[in-house]
Symmetry: C2
Subunit: 308 residues, 2 copies
């Protein structure tokens, strides 16, 4: 048990300039900012937990698409079910490659499948499925369960912030209702502080409390400029600290700027192929922006003593 | 200062069956339900504060429409600016009368004006305007400032629930960003727990943190079946207690039903024309439903020793 206000939470961090900038920021925030304004927001995939070789939710969705194609042969000739059924990693890779090159044709095809995959399911059933998957499935290459793919130094950072009066939120492009069943256990973040992408929902009443179900349409995708909008909508605040790792996090990190209060935009750099993965794809502009704006870059290789 | 867990918060309530059902519910919830699941949701207009002769936000919007028409003569021939400029209470009354009769033509006209009234304004500017209005404007007939139009027994109920581990949320058809500047001071409800109707927002980045502005379109109207959807989206929970006063609150009150936990749907009845207002218009189905489902009806006349 760490003492609130001390930095002994950050034991998986090397004593580098990065760690010192975090501690300095937190000490200034505690001194200068009322507790209710101490808000921190975190991207999830690639920031709090591993996103390679594919986002954890991607695995969850592919298994569901496989299951659908297995039950209905007609789906096997249609994307994205075809790729899921044939375990066609190439098609799935192309989705992201073409997305980064500006062509979202395959993204829309994939999204159509994703929305169809859970259309009509109740939020309770969806949560039970996500919960079961997350607590039992294994990462394909790291030799650990998905819930053990959270980064120990980031979990420590969350604890350190909380001990210093911060309210931590997850502002992820991943699905809000997918993450909610495990965020308290893994990150100490309660479900009401999970912001993320969402499908549109429908409520139908009955004499037993009614049911909320997933519709086959997106409510919003919590990425890029939607992140500040969703953070404001949920918290009514501009965060003092935001952490991300990709181009879609740029607006959220920009949004931390304060004229008269300490603020800290953190960008995680995946540069450790031995202990995790080594990639900058999808983070090119974010890294340029970090250099130009003086954001604090967290190097997994240099700043973290332990990764998991 | 009241002791947590005691009922001496509820001093403005008569010792009636209603008050006893509240106390009994809270005691059962404390005994049986983990603290993180103790969620309570409250409608605002007509439930936490007075909504007659018109919702407080209606006055705020009419003043803005008047201001716009004053600056631009062409608007004076167009509804809803015409009604605002001519202080035509009849047209405004007709909006609600026709709405309850199933004709939303005028509602849409009014909504168009409402959305145009703040299009392009930043969320910070909007908040400053709402804050100034709410802290200075007076109720037209009650002889008190709008912030003194909150019901003392309901504010006590919020405090009693909070002292017993509940998280209170406002789930109002009124504007989320309109209420946020005053909910902590008036109700002890922090801004992140304010759910309400919202206009769509836009984020544009710059080197000073960027700006979120109101667009001229609704994001959603938090009423009727949207209330359970928005409560779920924000909290990830089904509330144990919900309080409302009109037909638009029926789904939220239904949504409190639990098979295995105590729950309490509360419907406020405006039956005290001497101390507040006496009306059931817009609450007819809710009152029928309350009688059929055994909801607890709070009579202002009989259950409240003090109203304000």
């Amino acid at each position: 048990m760490s003492m609130p206000g001390t930095t002994d939470h950050l034991t998986s961090w090397h004593d580098t300039a990065t760690r010192r900038s975090i501690v300095e920021f937190v000490e200034r925030a505690v001194a200068d900012v009322p507790v209710e304004e101490r808000v921190a927001t975190f991207d999830n995939d690639g920031t709090l937990w591993c996103e390679k070789p594919m986002p954890i939710q991607g695995d969850f969705i592919l298994r569901r698409l496989f299951e659908m194609a297995d039950a209905d042969p007609e789906l096997r000739d249609r994307q994205p079910w075809k790729a899921a059924y044939e375990r066609d990693a190439r098609w799935l890779d192309d989705v992201m490659t073409e997305h980064y090159a500006g062509d979202d044709t395959k993204v829309r095809t994939l999204l159509g499948g994703v929305l169809a995959a859970y259309a009509g399911i109740s939020v309770d059933e969806f949560e039970a499925k996500a919960d079961r998957f997350l607590r039992t499935a294994e990462h394909p290459t790291l030799g650990r369960g998905y819930l053990e793919c959270a980064y120990a130094p980031m979990v420590e950072l969350l604890g350190y912030l909380e001990a210093n009066g911060f309210s931590n939120y997850i502002a992820s492009g991943g699905g809000r209702d997918f993450m909610r069943p495990i965020t308290q256990d893994v990150y100490g973040i309660p479900r009401e502080r999970v912001i993320g992408s969402a499908t549109a929902l429908d409520y139908v009443g009955d004499s037993r409390g009614g049911t909320i179900t997933h519709k086959a349409e997106a409510d919003y995708l919590d990425d890029g400029p939607q992140k500040p909008v969703r953070i404001w909508s949920r918290t009514g605040r501009r965060p003092l600290l935001a952490a991300g790792n990709s181009n879609g996090d740029i607006p959220m990190l920009d949004f931390t700027w304060h004229e008269d209060k300490p603020f800290l935009p953190l960008l995680l750099l995946h540069d450790d192929g031995d202990r995790e993965f080594d990639y900058t794809s999808g983070a090119e502009q974010a890294l340029e922006k970090a250099a130009a704006s003086g954001w604090t870059v967290v190097s997994i290789k240099q700043d973290w003593a332990t990764v998991f």
